[in-house]
Amino acid sequence: MAHFYESTLIDTVDGFQCKSYASEHPPGYVIVKPKYIPTDAIQGEGLKFRFLFEKCLIRFNQFAKKAELQKYVEQFRKTFPDYIYDCPIHKNWFYVVPLNKIKTIHDPKHGLQELLKVPIKDCDPYLVLVRELVDFLTKSGVSSSNLGITHSTLLGNYTFGKSDIDIVIYGKDNGWKILNYLKTASHEKLKWKTDAEWATYYQEHKTSESSHFTEQEYVKHMIRKKYEGTFGGTVFTLFTTEEPEETWFKWGEETYEPLGLATITAKVNDHSSSHVRPGFYGVEHAQYIETEPNIKINPIIPLKKVVTYSIPFVQQALNGETIKACGLLELVTPKNKQHEQYYRLVVGYFDAYLGERREKEFIKVV
């Protein structure tokens, strides 16, 4: 197992639903984020419930209160040990679905093609809107065969007026093509948040990520991203996922030595993979602003990448811009001895949500 598209929903034989969280995976597993978990697996305060497909399920939330989240993850580890992968090459852990635990894969691409075959007269207002949005996105030059639908749009448990429309774009170039198209394209149903609306959003949705930004900084970062808007009054989100031949790393070709928390500044020289998960910013001229005391940095080894698993930090910076970032510093050793070691900074590993890194990690343009 190497490639499996990110943003794909998987039902497991143990009755929970997950979303793939990367496009490169360890052999025998798919890296996922658990999405809905049976109530007998996790109990506690602060969890949201959903009635889905005959079952009362809990929505797994990485932003639950930290002490509570630690308890949930502990329960999850005990109940579903097979779904935690202690990764030797990262010296870290991931939520995974072992391949033999997959019950159903909900293919976004196939789902959209099926939807497009349904006569419009038989589509409800929500699905009509999805169709119109897809039609509009294809004006960018990206074919509908390179698009997919996911989450409730795909599974059919949407609520018109409440549920988002979640679109998957297959291929990094296709992703940029659509995101660039949306910078100037107009449609009577398309609406982006204004500066004032982003400012209000900032004030009303304080998160650990946004806490690193002033209101003005936050607005400046968000206003130029085109992965989330409204169409006909319904929120839509665009997720770009990598094709097998274009993943920016191959599983097992590098090993990663976690060194500790670090804050750096660096100049972005490659943002071409900053719209996928995990995404990265190629950087140069990195400077260490702050590091944990025990970290010993070899000044000869360059810091080349800032990696994010966290969606709020995708498309955060463009080539030529200088970023400041705080995350887990790793020493990367390529398997191929001809390639040199380098450092990278990673934001949003699963374990970050359980410790102090949750509040500390960020990526911003300075």
Binding site: T39, R50, F51, F53, K55, E114, L155
Partner: protein, 356 residues
């Protein structure tokens, strides 16, 4: 074999089926396919739905007849495993009874209404959306009748999760005929600010949709329909309450009787017992039949549930069958609504109606 009616089965090849009876042949569950993927067989005569990431046809037995007939023929070719060849109905499915069933080996998942409702009622109320909140409140109201939560279930779109608020019905299953009747008695007088019954106009809409004007006097239809307490509105959402038979309540075990088709007939009689008219298949026991020896009017369509009460006169047109039990005396019954009746002139001819 007993298996509760109104449960939902998804098959390994993606069909969504409603369990259509409470008594089943060994190793196969009698169903009505409800949503069928369009990969192998497709018809524009039927409505399309996008469900579970698939373009599906919704099997509508009231669709244009030639389209329906052609669709069923193709379905038989592409999905022969779901056509049940009954040895108790006296003829093979090529020319005789059309019966759909899902062999046990083809079941992907069973959605149990009782389990689903138990799960739903265990949810914190604040986590429920408008539709589920209405279901929750309605069930709380029904429980005031003295029924337990365990006696009830929720089915169709609410159970499967593809409901639409303000559009989808609430479909409640009551386990046990006595429990169901107890609930109907309760609803005769029970009040709730969110509860209202269908108006005459709303019943007439239904009457028009199903072509009932050609076979049933409007006033008698209104009389028989509007006294039903199994359909109404709660918080302006249509609800329908069904009964499912417990194992010990089933009239005849599969295979304990054989049925001989004697042709189409119209019969009149007086209802001697309507107790079993709340389930599917259900029946009325009749006396004073216009055709000697007919003692039962059986139906496979919920439209005919609770149509007539004990002592009332009714008329039915359907297939006359001689019922030959493995033990005991044979008798005759009239059966309305076998699936094959929708494919020919019987769709228009068959009926059950109140005549006084």
């Amino acid at each position: 074999m007993h298996f509760y009616e109104s449960s939902i089965i998804t098959t390994k090849d993606g069909l969504h089926c409603q369990v259509y009876a409470n008594e089943h042949p060994t190793n196969s569950i009698l169903v009505k396919p409800k949503y069928i993927p369009t990969e192998k067989v497709e018809s524009s005569a039927m409505q399309y739905r996008f469900i579970s990431g698939k373009k599906m046809n919704r099997l509508n037995l009231w669709a244009d007849k030639s389209g329906l007939k052609s669709y069923i023929e193709h379905f038989k070719e592409k999905y022969p495993q779901y056509i049940f060849n009954s040895t108790v109905h006296g003829s093979n499915h090529e020319n005789g009874r059309l019966i759909f069933s899902v062999p046990i080996d083809y079941i992907e998942r069973v959605y149990f209404p009782r389990t689903g409702l138990k799960e739903l009622m265990s949810m914190p109320v604040e986590a429920l959306d408008d539709h589920l909140k209405t279901v929750h409140d309605f069930v709380q109201f029904l429980i005031n009748s003295g029924l337990n939560l365990h006696d009830l279930g929720i089915t169709y779109s609410t159970l499967m999760g593809h409901y639409a608020s303000k559009v989808s019905d609430i479909n409640i299953v009551v386990y046990g005929k006595e429990k169901f009747w107890a609930l109907m008695n309760y609803l005769e007088t029970a009040k709730h600010p969110s509860l209202r019954w269908k108006t005459q106009d709303e019943w007439l809409d239904f009457y028009k949709k199903r072509n009932r004007y050609s076979i049933c006097d409007k006033d008698l239809f209104i009389k028989s329909a509007s006294r039903k307490k199994s359909e109404g509105f709660f918080n302006e959402t249509l609800f329908v309450i069904f009964a499912a038979e417990r194992e010990e309540e089933v009239h005849a075990r599969w295979g304990s009787e054989k049925y001989v088709d004697k042709g189409l007939i119209t019969v009149q009689g007086t209802v001697a017992d309507d107790f079993h008219s709340v389930v599917r298949p259900g029946y009325y026991e009749i006396t004073d039949s216009s055709t000697p020896n007919v003692t039962q009017i059986t139906f496979h369509s919920r439209d005919y549930c609770m149509l007539a009460k004990k002592g009332e006169k009714m008329e039915a047109c359907g297939i006359l069958e001689e019922v030959i039990p493995a033990h005991g005396k044979s008798y005759h019954r009239v059966v309305v609504g076998y699936f094959d009746s929708y494919l020919n002139e019987r769709r228009e001819k068959e009926f059950i109606r109140l005549i006084t």
